[in-house]
C-alpha cells in the first residue's frame, strides 16, 4: 500500500514536470495548418544560446524572438524552406538540427548507407565461406545421444 502511494506520488510529480516543460511555448496560431508547421519548424531549430535545446523548448529570450520570427514569416506566407534559409543566412547551418543535404553534408547522410553496404559485404563473405566449409566437410556426423 505504501509502495502504491509512492508510485502515485512519483507519477503525479513527473506529470507536473512534463507540463512545466511544455509550457515554454504557448503560441496558438489561428490557422491549424500554420500551427502544425510552426510546431514542426520550432522543433527543428536550435536555440543558439543553449545549443542542445530547440527554440520550442527553450525559455531564453532569444528563442522567444526566433519563435516570433518563425510565426511572422509563416503569416507572411513563406515556405518552410524559405524560413530555414532565413535562419541559416543569419546563424549558419548549425541552427538546423536536421542538416540539409549538400556537398558539405553528403558524407554525413551517406555514411550510414556506406556502413550498411560494408556490413552486407562482410556478412556475404562470411556466409559464403561457412557454406563452403560445410559443403567441404564430408566427415560423418557423430551419432551421439540426442539432446531434447
Amino acid at each position: 500500500m505504501i509502495r502504491l502511494a509512492w508510485l502515485l506520488a512519483i507519477a503525479v510529480l513527473s506529470t507536473g514536470f512534463v507540463s512545466v516543460a511544455q509550457a515554454v511555448d504557448t503560441t496558438e496560431m489561428a490557422d491549424p495548418a500554420l500551427q502544425s508547421r510552426y510546431r514542426a519548424l520550432t522543433h527543428e531549430l536550435r536555440c543558439m544560446q543553449c545549443q542542445n535545446q530547440t527554440i520550442a523548448d527553450s525559455p531564453v529570450g532569444l528563442a522567444g524572438d526566433l519563435r516570433r520570427q518563425v510565426r511572422e514569416l509563416l503569416e507572411a506566407g513563406k515556405s518552410d524552406a524559405e524560413i530555414r534559409d532565413y535562419m541559416v543566412e543569419r546563424y549558419g547551418a548549425f541552427i538546423l538540427f536536421r542538416p540539409q543535404f549538400n556537398v558539405r553534408t553528403a558524407w554525413l547522410w551517406l555514411a550510414p548507407l556506406v556502413a550498411l553496404l560494408i556490413g552486407a559485404w562482410v556478412a556475404y563473405r562470411v556466409i559464403r565461406q561457412r557454406t563452403r566449409l560445410v559443403a567441404a566437410d564430408t566427415s560423418e556426423v557423430e551419432d551421439g545421444p540426442r539432446l531434447q
Binding site: Q49, L62, D65, L66, V88, R90, Y91, G92
Partner: protein
C-alpha cells in the same frame, strides 16, 4: 593473414581520428563562426538611445570601417569589456557603434553616465530584430564591418586588449585613422 589481423586495428585508428577531430572541432559557444562573414552587413534604422528623436541608420557609417558592439545592461560580460571599449574607442582608429539589445533605455543611459560612453552612436534594438539579422546569440558580440559594408570579423564574448589588437586592429587598413 597479417594484413587481416591489422584491419580492425586500422579501422579503430581511423574511427578514433575521425571522432577525435569531431570532438576537437565541436562548436563551443565561443567558436561558432558568424554566418555573415564576407557578406554585406544587415541594414538597420533604429531609434537613437542618446537622442530619442534621431534615427541611427547603418548607411551613416558606410564608406569607412566601423565596429558594431552588441550590449545590454543585463549582460555581465558587457561590464567586463566596457573599460576595453573605452580604451579602444579613445584610440580613434575606427568609430564604435552600439547596438543596445533588448534593454531598458533608462538603465542603459545610467550605465553610460556611470561608466562612460565609447560609442559614436547607439541604436536601440528593443525587440531584438536587428540582433537576429546579425545572427547575434549572446552579448557581448563585436562585429568589424569594412569600408564596403562587408562583415569581416565577429567576436563573441568580452573584448580584451589581445583580442582587440589581434582580431580587430590587424584587420584594419593601415591608412584608417
Amino acid at each position: 593473414m597479417k594484413a587481416k589481423f591489422l584491419l580492425p586495428l586500422a579501422l579503430f585508428a581511423l574511427l578514433a581520428v575521425v571522432l577525435g577531430v569531431g570532438v576537437k572541432r565541436s562548436p563551443e559557444k565561443s567558436t561558432i563562426q558568424s554566418a555573415l562573414l564576407g557578406k554585406p552587413a544587415p541594414q538597420f534604422a533604429l531609434p537613437s538611445l542618446t537622442d530619442p528623436v534621431r534615427t541611427v541608420n547603418s548607411r551613416e557609417f558606410a564608406g569607412r570601417p566601423y565596429v558594431l558592439n552588441v550590449w545590454g545592461t543585463w549582460c555581465g560580460e558587457c561590464r567586463v569589456e566596457h573599460t576595453m571599449l573605452m580604451q579602444a574607442s579613445a584610440e580613434q582608429r575606427v568609430p564604435f557603434v552600439g547596438l543596445n539589445w533588448k534593454d531598458d533605455n533608462a538603465a542603459a543611459l545610467a550605465w553610460l553616465a556611470q561608466l562612460g560612453n565609447p560609442y559614436q552612436a547607439i541604436a536601440v534594438d528593443s525587440d531584438g530584430r536587428t540582433a537576429i539579422d546579425f545572427g547575434v546569440y549572446g552579448a557581448p558580440e563585436t562585429f568589424l564591418i569594412d569600408a564596403n559594408g562587408i562583415v569581416v570579423h565577429r567576436h563573441v564574448g568580452a573584448l580584451t586588449r589581445e583580442v582587440w589588437e589581434r582580431e580587430f586592429l590587424a584587420r584594419l587598413p593601415p591608412s584608417a585613422s
